[in-house]
Symmetry: C2
């Protein structure tokens, strides 16, 4: 539980401008604020809109509580008259925009906010924060999904970005075409498919890899995905099929030359009769690595760092 | 107000591993988890630690409420026995680490978590999320502060990153040597200096630049900083000093060739007798731009995008 108001997630100058504009009367002038980018990142031909749903959630909670008003007053950021105006604040304007998942291009407004100068000003920073990050992730996700062709992509990037960004990134990844996420809070808040089985530390805490695999199958069933690259991959695949039988759901490879290893593991699984066992690969994948893996016998991808940091473009310059 | 638990800001596999390890007994084995980076970003010789204070805050709130437990149970992520264990969860281990603001280098653990496998596993993703982002921003901030020499740097990047990242970035920027932030929630939560006066939209909503300047000075006093590049900079500086007198606190330039413009504006201000009026520059500054501005007559910097996205290294590979 944390106490916060999206109305405070803003640049101070939005409030100082409001204060001055209320004093001189311009706060009531009708305005249109448009959010757009002047240019796409180098080498990109489109962006993908995401974040609008989060904006709507944030606007529902957009109000200042007594602590916030006291802070603005104590720090002399706004006058007593503006505090009184803020106590009654209600956005009376309208917001129009692209749907989430649509493409966007330079100089076309992704979002248009119409209202008085005073009320539009207060929303500006929050809307930009949400759109700049969520669109960056959705745009990266979309390119990755294209490179992955029909193979599902899963978000595993949570640990490589701020803990709240991770939640937003999961949502934006799904908007961009990803099929699930490792992030539990995102799955809970947004009803997304959650995925994940075990990491290297789980193998390491057991006396042997075999013990770890037996334990995981006892807990999660034979349809689970076993991580096979903690020690020797060939040994691990052999052990995995011995323990789970050919009904083993999947194996995950998280290091090395993924294309070569996937082929070797596929051959080995097939030879062991585990012809339906899937292969998931992870480890610093980006859109280029996914494109390079198109001919490898891979069934799904787990993508981390490069997804949640926008694949080289962590913000959209909006 | 938002309802959340940092215990849910995690990868699902932390819980599935816990579940299997509780069943087979390895959850009680003593472990040491170490967080470190294997390599610094290209061209960097050090990183700066930040985020530890946020980790301590998060750990205080680290528990699962009924909704969270129901989610884990309904989705069959863990068994009923594990739900019972989670209801009683209390971290009994110890955490040691570098102080915030200290430098870090590859392969040296920034944080060491000692405890049982079960309890350490649950903290892993959250700790990595916080450290990877906060250290990335503090490291970028530190390089910028070095490049800026004695001139204060201010964080203005909130709109270019996720709204919660913005709050964390402000804090990490100050850990890295920045002197203040435009972000109000960060100022409120962490007691930071908040800065900010007006944007171009404030000038645009008025009938003339003069009207905008008069309004801002009426609201904020002569010690404010006027934004002088909405139309013609030379005209704006002339108007600014006419309106505020030579006691004008500062002017901000947010576009163009900042080194050349700063020199021209300094000459003009001095000729008008405004010898104490400060010059702030902003507009996509990074560590290289700051280094290039060392001989320009600039008094302070507002830094945005490149700060909150880690100046080319948005995560620390921890």
């Amino acid at each position: 539980m944390v106490d916060y108001s999206p109305a405070m997630m803003t640049d101070m100058y939005e409030y100082t401008m409001l204060d001055a504009a209320l004093k001189d009367g311009t706060a009531n002038r009708k305005c249109v604020f448009e959010i757009f980018t002047r240019h796409l990142p180098e080498g990109r031909r489109y962006g993908v809109v995401a974040g609008t749903g989060r904006i709507l959630d944030a606007l529902e909670r957009f109000h200042l509580d007594d602590d916030d008003l006291r802070f603005l007053s104590d720090r002399k950021i706004v006058s007593a008259e503006t505090i009184a105006w803020l106590e009654r604040f209600h956005f009376s304007g309208s917001i129009k925009g692209y749907r989430e998942g649509e493409m966007f291009f330079p100089n076309s407004p992704v979002l248009q906010v119409e209202g008085t100068f005073g009320e539009c000003t207060l929303l500006e920073t929050l809307l930009l924060s949400i759109l700049n990050y969520d669109c960056a992730v959705a745009s990266a996700a979309s390119r990755m999904v294209t490179a992955a062709k029909d193979r599902p992509c899963m978000d595993m990037g949570g640990r490589r970005t701020n803990e709240w960004s991770a939640v937003a990134a999961s949502r934006a990844a799904v908007v961009g075409g990803f099929q699930g996420t490792a992030n539990l809070l995102a799955a809970q808040l947004y009803g997304l498919k959650a995925i994940g089985t075990a990491a290297h530390c789980f193998t390491l805490v057991h006396d042997s890899e075999r013990d770890a695999f037996i334990s995981q199958i006892n807990a999660l069933g034979k349809n689970t995905t076993l991580l096979v690259d903690t020690y020797n991959i060939e040994e691990a695949v052999k052990t995995a099929v011995e323990v789970a039988g050919p009904e083993l759901g999947g194996v995950r490879i998280d290091s090395g030359d993924l294309a070569a290893l996937a082929q070797r593991v596929r051959n080995q699984l097939d030879a062991l009769g585990a012809t339906n066992t899937k292969i998931t690969v992870t480890n610093d994948l980006d859109e280029y690595a996914l494109a390079a893996l198109q001919t490898a016998p891979v069934d799904s991808y787990g993508v981390g760092t490069r997804l949640v940091t926008g694949s080289g473009a962590p913000t959209c310059a909006m």
